[in-house]
Symmetry: C2
Subunit: 347 residues, 2 copies
């Protein structure tokens, strides 16, 4: 059983570079500091982050969500541009708790790499930290793991976890949706983080494009279009949530409008979405044409230009729209809620 | 630019199976329910989990940690045994907030797979849910992502995120460590989740062993030894934390005793660890022999049989040991804190 000629083994031989890990840790600690606020009790490098509970809602409830950014990562890796994914990740998580009425408190990241490349980690964490600052939340901790053999050289995965706080008695949700409510749409910023396996198949594999080629029909490169960041709707919707003027919110991610809007429909109600109330942005139309994709499949795979849907009482629809327009949001009425078998109808 | 002969593209063609994803979601929802408690407000499938803050400490502070289980995953995949990693993950996270004096409230998981294999996801989530129940925390949410092209077929990665609650004024930590304090060691349950890249290199690559072969010098298979789960120290240490009898805690993970004990040493104090106060378990000795690994490297890579270290006031050492022994823990005095240049000395 024993190796007849053993040579000393070390962790570095096994593909793990502990010095690079230590340097990455220092760099991350500096970036983390840029997001700090007085609620943070822990020092960088602590076993866990500590966050003092803020004074706030009368009946506080914590909201938490875990997310990844899917194979958009492969586009970033291929383009060698790693500073945008952090925004995707933090904004995606922020939106997921926002639809529960929560504002972010803190965020933690998980980065796993085939080999710890400090420049890549620096770009990833810089993006995460910038997005945390933009969403008013603290980067409280995280894990960076070097996993030789699980990830190909240059590959990595990225996941994020967010915790926010809401007021139990003012949170939006399915329980507040009524027949006659209006559906208000807010524009996305492109593909956000969904449909990337299909996009890569079409653009890279079928058309043979590279990240620096022009995106079909658009005056921008493939990388520029595919790496546009997932928007955060926190600043647009925060005031409306404060004023308790939203019945429910649906973040349009995987599964598109049909599957995500269905998540906030109570029994006996259906959503009628007027797909002619807007024109999907050109990148969606280009992909539909190139892939000869049926409209229904497009709507189940992509956000089609809608990143967030609000359900509001009919009497609130106009003032809510006016406020959103005043805030620079191109919001529009995209349908209504009605009695009927529970379904999201694209009409 | 246009494909001259386009054929319809769909998400399934792009390697993503949405029906399998829907089935996995249902299965996960059932497992999640087994961890539920009255603090949970959200339904399975909500955009984010909602958790009502428990009445508790006078000055509540949230503790949060993100972790993976490293390349122990590759052992599980190779052995085809996916039900233990969830325990590793939840227990690791639990210990990381425990050292800050926090008890777990809720947990979220991130599972990324090359292809969504429902049986694998079922085993992973069943393990996570069981470990959540054992640690008294709720599985509040998570993300399961199918990532063709990032993970090889059969491969996956797993990360976890925990939130707990502590009392700001009773938490252990570096700020409470004093000269003369005793170092108390609690046994690990094998390798826990550290050193697996080296272990796999030695056992699988150099010795050519398979998971079902006997582990060198042990009366157990390679898989049995390598997949023994990372212990949770919550139940052993919870009462001592309640009684405020612990100055500081160090969870012995990557970097071993030297690097993790250093994390709780204040300026001007050093830790002297008496390595002859215990004998590393046989699996560590076997690995040291097989790899011809220097003792210092062993201590920096593996926990060497110590999973958690307590720092306690000298007058508390004997009663703390007695209580731990009464609770079935094989705890022992493994050193002391003294004035001197900050260092962890293995003496």
């Amino acid at each position: 059983m024993a190796d007849p000629n053993p040579s000393p083994a070390s962790y570095r031989d096994a593909g793990v570079d502990r010095d690079a890990a230590a340097r990455a840790k220092e760099l991350i600690a500096r970036l983390v500091q840029t997001t700090n606020d007085p609620h943070v009790l822990s020092e960088p490098g602590a076993f866990a982050g500590l966050f003092r509970l803020p004074a706030g809602p009368h009946t506080p409830v914590l909201a938490a969500s875990a997310d990844g950014v899917g194979t958009k990562i492969k586009v970033a890796i291929r383009a060698g541009r790693h500073d945008t994914l952090g925004h995707d990740l933090v904004n995606h998580c922020t939106n997921d708790i926002l639809v529960q009425g929560a504002r972010p408190l803190f965020f933690l990241d998980y980065i796993a790499l085939g080999r710890l490349d400090e420049a890549v980690v620096a770009q990833l964490v810089a993006g995460i930290a910038a997005a945390c600052r933009a969403n008013g939340c603290v980067l409280l901790g995280g894990e960076t793991a070097e996993m030789p053999d699980l990830y190909a050289p240059g590959d990595y995965d990225l996941a994020g976890f967010i915790v926010g706080i809401a007021d139990e008695h003012r949170r939006p949700g399915r329980h507040r949706v009524r027949p006659g409510d209006r559906i208000v749409a807010l524009p996305s910023n492109g593909f956000h983080t969904n449909g990337y396996s299909l996009l890569r198949r079409l653009l890279f594999d079928r058309l043979g494009l590279t990240p620096t080629d022009p995106f079909p029909d658009l005056d921008a490169t493939v990388a520029d279009v595919l790496l546009r960041t997932h928007r955060s709707y926190l600043h647009a919707l925060g005031p409306l949530l404060e004023q308790d003027r939203i019945h429910a919110l649906a973040h349009i991610t995987g599964g598109g409008i049909p599957e995500n809007l269905a998540r906030i429909l109570p029994a006996g109600l259906q959503a009628r979405v007027h797909t002619r109330s807007w024109e999907p942005p050109p990148e969606f139309r280009a992909v539909m044409r190139i892939g000869a994709i049926e409209p229904e499949e497009m709507f189940r795979t992509f956000n089609m230009g809608v990143g967030m849907i609000l359900v509001v009482a009919p009497e609130h629809a106009d003032p809510v729209l006016a406020d959103l327009h005043a805030a620079g949001e191109h919001a529009w009425i995209a349908g209504e809620v009605a009695e009927g078998r529970p379904a999201v109808l694209l009409v």
